[in-house]
Amino acid sequence: MKVVITLTLLLVSFISRSAEQAEQIFHQLAPSLYQIRLIDKASGEKSSIGSGFQITEDGLIATNYHVISGFAQHPAKYRLEYLDNKGNKAPLELKSVDVINDLALVQRTVTEKMPYFDIAKNNPIKGEEIYSLGNPHDLGMIVVPGTYNGLKIESFHDRIHFTGSINPGMSGGPVVNHLAQVVGVNVATSGNQIGFLVPHEKLLTLFNNYQRKPPSSIDMQMSEQLVGSQKKLISTMLSTPWQQKALGNAIIPTIDVPYIRCWGESNADKADAIALLAVANCALEENIYITGGFFTGSVDMEFKYMKSKKLSDLKFYHIYQQHILRAGPGNKAGKDDVTEYQCHHDLVKPNTGNMDDKAILCTRAYKKFPKLFDVLFIAASIDKGDQALISHFTLSGVTQESALAFTQKFLESVSWK
């Protein structure tokens, strides 16, 4: 009995120590925490909110790019302002962004030197308690204690896996260790205590680059970042050896990198289906946010194997054709973001392979970011009367060079057994 009581007491003291620490951290840093608001000029009301934190004594504030993306893309429609812990509001100026890592730097005017957050020098250790700060749902600044769980493995863009709730509105808020040093920035959640943070090194890089040379234009800066990121992604994917895998009677490639994840489905259980259908889908399960209606950076591959059961070739091909009629883009984009697609089609047979394809490639250009395109490709085998393989991919936000190199490798990696 005594033991139980002692244990309970210990636990209580541990919890209260943690709560105390959280309170202390919050108290100490409250003046450097802000709510960042995107104000619609025409209506004068806030159109979205997020959190931000000051990282220099002269008023430079870090937040998420997606918090201020409306202003970055439509500066005429919106303005930025902050709300501090005393309820003061004042305008902000956008200084620099990192669209790939979803970070932005904004500047407030200060009259005297102010307290600010230090950025940590080292990564936390796995299991270490860290504290996420922010303003969820416009309810006021709060502290959420949670656990550092290292970097997310299946992610091309580094993200810290944080066990603790991150809610809308907390985006752009800092995550600090017990020394109140910033170890990450709140960015996303997948519900139920799973949160994702941008590692502090990314913020440090953005800050250092900004201090060395502020960007001349935000659009140009974003453009360079997007081009750089797609180049890194595609060249990594192309330099990794592609594994061969059987799908029905065909051989399809899989790219052996952790951030491309695959899923599969078939109708093998349906005895009355008139054709066997097996689908394998591999995708990069993350993308880059530009605005609410415009995402980029996605990679998606789909292979569909079909085998006719007692159907005439003519009918099989008629059904088969329905499967390639309606391919759509892999990313969301609107009229102001991209042009309409232009397509090329031809019958293609790789020298290396044994599969004859009808190949279709479509592309559309980005209007704001030169040299970047969305690409959609479909190849449909046309050399077997009773079997078919559709190989399809979409890439978004890639250069012509990357797109064509990927297409070539993709086309040459598909064959019959």
Binding site: D313, I324, E340, Y341, Q342, D346, L347, V348, G385
Partner: protein, 320 residues
Amino acid sequence: MEIIVEEINRGEKLLSRHKFLTDKVTIGRGYSNDIILADPHVCSEHLSLSFTEGNWLVTDKSTINGSFLANGKQNADQHIVHSGDTIRLGKSYIRLILADHPVEDTMPFSPFESIITLMRNPLVLAINILLFSAVAGMMFYLNQPKEVNFTQFVVRAVSVTLMFSLWPILISLISHFNKHEARILTQLAISFALFNLMWVSDVFESIVAFNMSSNWSIASLITLLPIVLAFSLIWLNCYIGFNMSARRRNIIAFSMTALLFGGSYILELSKKPEFTARPNYDATIMTPTFKFSASSSVDKFISDSGKLFAKVEKSAKEKN
């Protein structure tokens, strides 16, 4: 002296034709007349034509509604007849023609005549209709996601055939109502022959789309084929069903085709959204049997596709 009196309708279509070898002809509603008109606006003794001093003279017998030249207001009483004159009495029309009136040149049989005769052959007609039904049933079979049994196939084939036979039947009815010969079998023969040609052009179009790459820009010309066929169908329908001048036939066939295709084009254009996020590509695939052209190499495909990028980049700049 000879005179020919033609009863015509308002559209100058011939209703009946009478030839007289006397010097006096009477026209009216009464049964004593040489030409008896049923028009209630015509008087019982309405008009007489008499040959005096080398001319035919029109005499109106002081009628209630009068007699007038052509469609105008000029009174026809005491008018000296010129061959081809039209006179209106009541709501009826007559045309007066003298024996030396010139006639148009003999129309030779057009080369279509032999085709029409061939199509009109009962055996050829039956084959054409059967062929059409078979293709209609086939299309149904191909478009069904499930297996199709024979009854479903036949029901569909027959119903589509009946539906398509409405067109020639409609044309026949119209020509019948216009006092032309209905020629229903000939209309059926020609229509089904052309419907079958349209299937053929569809298949041809698919084969071209399947075999040719998008570099081959002439492929778009193939889409003219159905337009040409539709024009031919309407032209032949007119040729068979109505006695009209070649010029008029061309105009009718042209304007109906334009209405048909232009109308659907405009409809499509009006539905087109300002921006479409989905690509619009040619996805025609056919069984290996229909592959006639050689496949390109991957390098060729890549270099051809490369040209697209400059194109979309240009349109991105234009719209900015």
